[in-house]
Amino acid sequence: MLLTNCRTDPLGISNFKWRMAEHQIDDPKIAFAYLRPSCVLLTKEPTCTNVEALSGHLCSVSDGALQQLQDYILFPLRFVLKTPGPKREGLIQAVMEAMTYVLENTCVQRWESLRDLFSELCLCLCSPQDPGKPATASEELKISVLGCLDTLLHSAYGDIVFKLYEPSMLPGLGAAVSLLLALAEQEKARSVQTASLKCLLSLFLQCDCKKEHIEPRQHERYLLGSALATFLPGISRALSLVVSGDVRQGHAVTVKSMRFWYKTVGLVMADEQLEKTGIDKAAGDLGRVGELIVKRTPSWRKATSQRLAIVLQKIISCTSAHPHWKVRLELVNLSHHLLSQCSQSVVECVGPLLEALVGAINDEEPEVKNKCNTALDDVAQKSQTNGRQDFTDVLSENLHNLASSLPRLMRTSDDQRKLFVLNVFLGYLKILGPKIDVVLTSAVHLERISKALMQVMELDVTDVKIIEEKSLTSSADLTPDVQQIPSQRKYFLYFTDDKIFSALRKICRMLGYYGNLYLLVDRFIELYKESSVYRKQAALVLNEIIVGSAGIGVETDTLSQPKTNEEDLKSSIMSIIEEYISLSNWHLPTVSEALEGNPESTVLSVNNNVELSLQLLPASKPQTLHQLNSNIWQICIQLEGIGGFALALGTDFSLLLMRSLYPVLEKAGDESLLISQVAFNAMCDFCKACEYSSPKELVIKNSDYLLNDVSLNLARPSVHPHAPRVLAVMFTHSDASLLPLVADVVQDVLTALDLSYDQRTPQFCSVLNSLMKALVTWFPNTTGHQKPPTKETQNNTCVSLKQFLLDYKKQKEFAEGIGVEDEDPDDLDIPPPELASDEDTEGPAVKKELPLHIQIAKDVMERCIHLLSDSNLRIRLKVLDILELCVCILREQEDELLPMVHRCWPALLHRLTNDDPLAVPRAFKVLCVLGDSCGDFLRKRVSKEVLPRLTTNLLKQAEISTRSGSVYTHTLAYKLQLAVLQGLGPLCVKLDLMDADLDHVLDACVPYLSCRQPIRLQEACLSVFRSLMDLDSDLCWFILNQLYCPVVYDPPHPLLLPVKLSGVNKPRNQFTDNILKLLQELDGEPENGEPENQTQTLHMTDNRPSYSTSRC
């Protein structure tokens, strides 16, 4: 009791403490004696100090004593108020506090006291000049007066308080009400507004504070109702103004005014009161007061109800989407209260009230939602027990109206309002529950609802970025991870807030959950087919309907299982998927025709050449861009749908994989980044649904289904151009276990390639490329073809001259011998003798069975031979890549490799010598790999056919590159030089080139030792020398020394001739730095600790000094 008014009464706190500390006076007589002096003093001198003194004394008196002395104590206080003339605010405030204290702890038992106090307090509030208007007093004063008034009303005895509402009191009451309303409406301070609203609630016994309240009986309620009826227009007007006021006024004010309004309406319009209008006649001769009394006749009820509906609409519109949840909660209370108290009297309001209630059913604040649920249950139950069927009718009627106005609302209102409207929609569906089915069977309803959804969910496809974004990582490089890429946000024409989209999705799911699945799917498939305008939205809706019908993401009160049975769901999903992936809906153009038409530029766009594709896009056709954009979204939505269907069906989706995995994989390889991402997400959904750990496992485990489609579609490249793409994706995701199945399809690929040579070659090339890449990773080459370098001459730390000569001679003969045997090209078509002997043992017709991957590599290489001469540069480049991979695979079976190399040599040679500067370095790289794999075999060809050209070219370019500036490093010629120099060293080593060839190579490289060359060319050249030093260190030493010789060599014995090197005594030149570097490396190999020159044996052969160095 004590604590309640503490906030407005700081004194109370001190009182409280004081009273806790000391014993209170119980005896009224003693109390009287105790209080009397201060009362007398106050009457004589009405000052603040005296009031406070009295207050101080009051605290020491017990409640019982206080009650007996109530009038006595109140008298001086009221006397202060009644004294004419202006009074200081502080004094009045002190008086208020003292009165509040007394009233709080006592009861008002006499009607006269109540009436007088009431009117005196009201007088304190109004301005002395104009009693109808609030006084211009301070905020604090008003609060304390209002607090006192509130306390007075609380402390009034139940048997006297109802006299307040008797007709004779109406004028006074009216004045008070209008005064309080004026305060609530006009006052700036929130606390005053709240306090006056609280007062109003107390005044009509509707207070909701924690204190004890009088519970009015029926006839008393009737009394209250008729009194309030008089003030209803004023109350409604004022409160609707308050409610619709600035949001900044704070939720408390709004909540309180709403409460006072609906409590008032609830009393005035209560069904139980209006049923028996007869009591009203009791009004006798009241004179003018009689005019104030409202007779609640049926006609009055009707008129009032209509007016109330207008006010209600206003209140709902201001509060339904109010940012503060307590306001929304109060709206629920309002609807609930009015629906349960006076649904029959305010018929016009039932619709809006239901709408408001339903709108809160999906409120984000759980308390509001819960409250709303109980309220709805209560309302629904009441309406059912009342035997009124119209509840469902009202709902379905409301739903219909809402669906009709939905598109307009979505276009015109703000996001907050849209969200509310959609929540209402959803709420209706929720309340209708299983009855949705009945509503939807009405063609009109279905038509309205479906069309509304189509219009509302129209996508905004103007975002050009989507087309431009090409998948930078080709699908083949997707990480084998179940982690989904966050999906791209959809942009809608009529709203931006994501919450709105999510509300729409919930609506669709709810429809799917309760509605007849076949009916819905039929309807939306129909819309899907009807017009391309609806197609995306229809797909969106279908996606959600299916998910909803599986019971996913549907909030229901009951935990019942989804009523849709598995078979229905499956067959619906099947029919939707079939529709989605049908040719005309799946293979929509997503790349501008200008690009698609020209195979060359298609390749470019595959290569992510964004700038180029932008240039080529016709700028004059913005609709086309939108169309493409729309197509991209269309495909994405369908992909999302298929992913969602998988989740809806769970493991049962496994059977549908045979139909849907291929199309999805097809899109996973799409050039559009968005599509490929969404497709990947769909794959992740498949994994989740069918319990695969990763997309990789998904692909491997279902490779049979995929290959089935791939091989069928390979045969029809014009209708299904993407089979190679899918195959490429498969190769990336699978492992060697796939090979037997793949081998089968590879034959199809090759056949298809042979049949459609020109148009589809780029695609097939990328398939073959990914195939060979996969093979290389599946079968890592264990038997590397690296021969240990033959360095017999260098094995001995010190060789005698004679031994050296003998070795040299032997080696030279040996080398020439092998060269002759191996390099006769005519022998190459004859299979090697050991193979022939195999055939003898196994029978004449049986050819030795090759391992599958070797056979495939061979078959592919066969095609490369032809494609190497393709007119399209990009294809030639791709084929060179493939060729390199083929060689890597085939190197483990030299018998197979060499004949193939022989066959493709002419074409490769052409690439090396006569092709585009882009192709030559690539071809040279292949040559290096070939050299690595079959060195000896190529030696003669390289030295005869390739080296001369390369060296000539190098020499020729050397002159240019010495003179060029830094820009030169961006030219193709430079890149070619660099590639050749970088590869030349290892190539020479692998081919084990000798004498004249080495001379050529060294001669061609020497100019690149110049410090005037670009630095990377110098480095590359140094690497050539380093490689050649392994091969023939003497030759290198000699050539270097001829250019620049840092030391003079004195013969160790006078009989030997002095060494004369042309580089001796040459001045420092452009080559000096690099030569010194190389000579240092040549001499100072770290493993051998012996100092150089000491063990050198010098000899002259072929007019050239040969060295046997002390190196290993």
Partner: protein, 324 residues
């Protein structure tokens, strides 16, 4: 009106790992429709046609080629297989078992497929080739007791193919021989009804439409020849149809007697109208000889499929002329 392009296969069954020699559908009973296939390396695959995957693989006939497969009593759990190891095996596949419950040594090294006749319940006759190249032996399955041995005195050459069925008069067997003749045997009386020299080359395959009393045979030539059985059970030449390429591995008339399918050596499956032998379609998919064709016996006519097994290790499944 332009002819429609031939359809694509509905799907391909891969993974038999060897050439496919024999096919047999089984759609009766509970569960998904099945297709049994016998391979060149003795493996019998049981394909689930709902998942399109091999449900199980039976290793049979000691790695020798399986040349004929059939279910017994139209039950999916009991299978009979003939292999080139000169044996006929009976399998119990029920409840996940895969055991050979019975087997018969035929002694035949040839390619001639057996023929099964389930005339009365409990009595099943099996006609099989024997070690004597011209001889047909008919045995009672339950005990393997020989019912009769059919052999002509004149030299017809090796037995190539046969079909046995139940006529009013008793079991009848039609057999094709190496010299190109077709002989109609009265099994009960162990004597030939009639003999007709149909082809100059060996008869590779034949099938008989019992209802229309009409049969068809093919050899290594370009022609398919149909013949009639008149009232006196004598064979008469009836009609013929030319093909582009020579050689037929197998001929099958669909159970409804509407179409005929041929497995060609030219890698193609050909479909003819059975009534007038009108060529209807050439189904191209295989990259090697087609060894076998089979029609499914599904209850629902729209789900009746055609399967073809080829030396290229694939089985192609087609849905053709199944609408009406």
């Amino acid at each position: 009106m332009m002819a429609r392009p031939p359809p694509d296969p509905l799907y391909i069954l891969r993974g038999s790992g060897a050439s496919v020699n024999a096919l047999h559908f089984c759609c009766g009973g509970d569960g998904p429709p099945l297709l049994y296939s016998g391979s060149g390396t003795g493996a019998v695959h049981v394909w689930n046609l709902s998942t399109r995957r091999a449900e199980r693989v039976l290793e049979s006939h000691a790695g020798n080629s399986v040349i004929w497969l059939h279910t017994l009593n139209n039950s999916r759990s009991s299978l009979i297989s003939q292999g080139r190891d000169m044996r006929v095996c009976v399998w119990d596949l029920s409840e996940g078992r895969n055991a050979v419950t019975d087997s018969l040594h035929t002694g035949s090294v040839g390619f001639c497929q057996c023929s099964l006749l389930e005339s009365q319940p409990g009595s099943t006759l099996l006609a099989h080739p024997t070690q004597h190249m011209e001889e047909v032996s008919v045995v009672e399955m339950s005990s393997w007791t020989q019912v009769c041995s059919l052999k002509l005195d004149s030299n017809l050459g090796m037995l190539m193919c046969m079909k046995m069925w139940q006529a009013d008069s008793g079991p009848v067997l039609c057999a094709g021989y190496e010299d190109g003749s077709v002989v109609l045997w009265d099994v009960s009386h162990r004597r030939p009804f009639s003999r007709l020299k149909v082809h100059p080359e060996p008869v590779m395959s034949l099938d008989v439409d019992v209802y229309r009393q009409k049969g068809i045979s093919g050899s290594s030539e370009k022609i398919l020849q149909s013949w009639m059985l008149d009232n006196k059970k004598s064979l008469q030449m009836h009609d013929s149809v030319q093909m582009t390429n020579p050689g037929v591995s197998q001929l099958q008339i669909r159970a409804d007697g509407k179409i005929l399918a041929s497995a060609g050596w030219d890698n193609n499956i050909r479909v003819f109208g059975w009534k007038k032998l009108k060529p209807l379609a050439v189904l191209q998919h295989h990259t090697d000889i087609v060894n076998s064709v089979a029609f499914s016996d599904h209850q629902d006519p729209t789900q009746r499929l055609l399967a073809a097994g080829s030396k290229d290790q694939r089985i192609s499944v087609w849905s053709i002329y199944s609408e009406s």
